[in-house]
Amino acid sequence: MQQYIKHVVLFLLIFLCSIVLLDITLSFIERKYSDFKIKSDPEYIVIGHSHPECSFNDSMITNLKNLAESGESYYYMFFKLKQVIDQNESIKVVFVEYSNNQINENMNKWIWAEKYINFRYPQYSSFMNISDKLILARNNPTGYLNSFSLALKKKTYSILKQDFDYSNKIGGYLYLERDKTDSLVNSITSKKTPLNKLSISEYNLDYLSRILQYCEAKRKKVILIRSPMHKKYSGYSNELFYNKIRNEKYPNIEYLDFSKFPLTNSEFGDLEHLNFKGAKVFSKWFSDILNNGLLDKTDKQAFINDEIQARMHSNDVYKK
């Protein structure tokens, strides 16, 4: 009996060590050769989830690269950003989306739910350390095991095919065609969630803190932003809580709020995403204020608000 248990344990140890060793080796190779170099040598980058992904048409904004990606939590963003900053000296300013839904507990799903972990973990596992991985393993052990095997396969294929180019796999502007805002607005039943009932994703916010710290450590200017959203967007219901967290956790980080940027319903894809028409309008405007020295202003938000007001007064369409 003892011999049997000894043999089983020994076999399992050999198997586990082989897997870990294989993972370490493949991760080392991938880290060594991974290429996050952005060809356009941008000065500004935008990271975040689908809101900035659909808002910043980087083909219209000089020196800016949109690296936002749908469904990406701060957790995975952190690993991506580290590599991007390390391999792109040209970057001076990092715009980080800080939107109402990014504080919610729901963001935990974006970190370890099967749909997300199976896609994101293989992409960034080579750049994670053990404590990062433990978060996934603790919260979704089955999903982690599955994504671990997917990551091994992905790394093996990358190495065999010598495909280490990440620059085209780390997000970008999303051209959204849909236009269903009118129907969504008509179907809204507004219900505000009381402040004391909101629960937040500590994990996601912890990684936002790490993103901010890393940027500061690398002497990159980091600015929190909120992309344009429709005034009927239900995510505003946690506004008080949202501002409270920002003021408490990130009091020294600059914050630019574009959420009230005036757009018509037809320029939204839905209540939280701009479609290509809205992105065109917003990106053109953003490019202009960036070129007009937005980042040199002492009170940037006041400058933005003035620009927004001026825009609203210049066009009656937005006064509705």
Binding site: M1, Q3, Y4, H7, V8, F11, I14, F15, S18, I19, P141, T142, L145, N146, S149, L152, K153
Partner: protein
Amino acid sequence: MLFNSIDFAIFLPVVFLLYWFFANRNLKFQNFIIVVSSYVFYGWWDWRFLSLILFSTILDYSIGYKLNKENHQTKRKILLWTSIIMNLGFLGFFKYYNFFLDNFIAAFSFFGTEVNTNSLNIILPVGISFYTFQTLSYTIDIYKRKLEPTKDLISFAAFVSFFPQLVAGPIERATHLLPQFYRKRTFEYSKAVDGMRQILWGLFKKIVIADNCSRYANMIFNNSDEYSGSTLVLGALFFTFQIYGDFSGYSDIAIGTSRLFGFNLKQNFAFPYFSRDMAEFWRRWHISLSTWFRDYLYIPLGGSRGNTWIKIRNTFIIFIISGFWHGANWTFIVWGTLNAIYFLPLLLTNNNRNNLKIVAQGKSLPTIRELSSMLLTFGLTAFAWIFFRAKNIDHAFSYISKIFSTSLFETPILHEEKKALIIIILVMLFVLTEWFGREEQYAISNIGYFEKRIYRWGLYLSICFLIFIFQGKQQEFIYFQF
């Protein structure tokens, strides 16, 4: 609790250590550990249905006890029928209530009468079809005086709820499994190693073959309108391997786990896809169910004795009931009927027992004739599985009619072709391993014959790597729903 889950990976070693270290000296304690762990295993899924198992256990234990004492034939019959009606009553209610209700309503509306009844939202208790048949075998065998009833309720409860085979078989006979609970088990190194090896192979079948094939089988069956005939053929083949990997994989894990605890369960699958005719296939596929139906239904009905019409009637009865056992859907009934049609010519021409030995025994390769017989049988089986997998009869017929269209000759098109190709290569590797291990109880049993540990462990490690690297998305075992 699924065999391929982390929960089970923790549960099994804990029960194993409790069983062999704390309960090793006492038979009753060993059986008690089995009962408790089995109830935990089953309750993990839904503890409410433990009451059904408990009720079935107490009912059949009491009836078995009384049956043995009773000599009056009418009273014995009443006792037997009480057991049958109660057990099948539960099965019928949970599994077939909505089916009969829906068909009842459809039949009335066909004759122009609208009947308003509400179907119930009934959850099917996992494994009810399996443990019901197992407990029935106990009372029937006592009635036939083939078995002495047990006085030990714990042993009987362990027999009914034995966790390795509780939810998806093999359906063990009381005459075979129950006496094993009367004897204290002692640990045997070789038996435990063999058990682990069979578990490993079962996991490979389930995780690598079944779960990966299911992805493409589901994709093709769920969107069959969009695919060409040739792709639909591929879909049927994916399902053919999925169901085999899934169910025989479960059986391997169940048998292997039982061996870890010192029990021997009967072989449930004997390489059925290498069968040379349908009669041989049914001697090799889900053996525990086929033999159950043979012994408790087919033979009491007269079996293959009697005139031609009796033979035809009995064959259809057994296959249709077997189909219906799988689920409350007309697709299963048609699947059973189709298999009866396959089987009948062999029975009527007395060719149903031509192929009793394993194909190409002692040889590496089959003859051309054997190969063509195997391919034909495999094709017929895969064709019948279309009914088994389809959502309903209409879906099955539209699937088949599209196969037999001109698009059959188009090149099959699949999403993620490279992944599909890898799965096809894995399936081919699997078929080859099964072929070379077909004279054993399970395909990789012969790894144990290697003298040097480094070879044995090297092969085990390779299988573990394949399981780890090529694991498909975790799926429930298909037979849980039966």
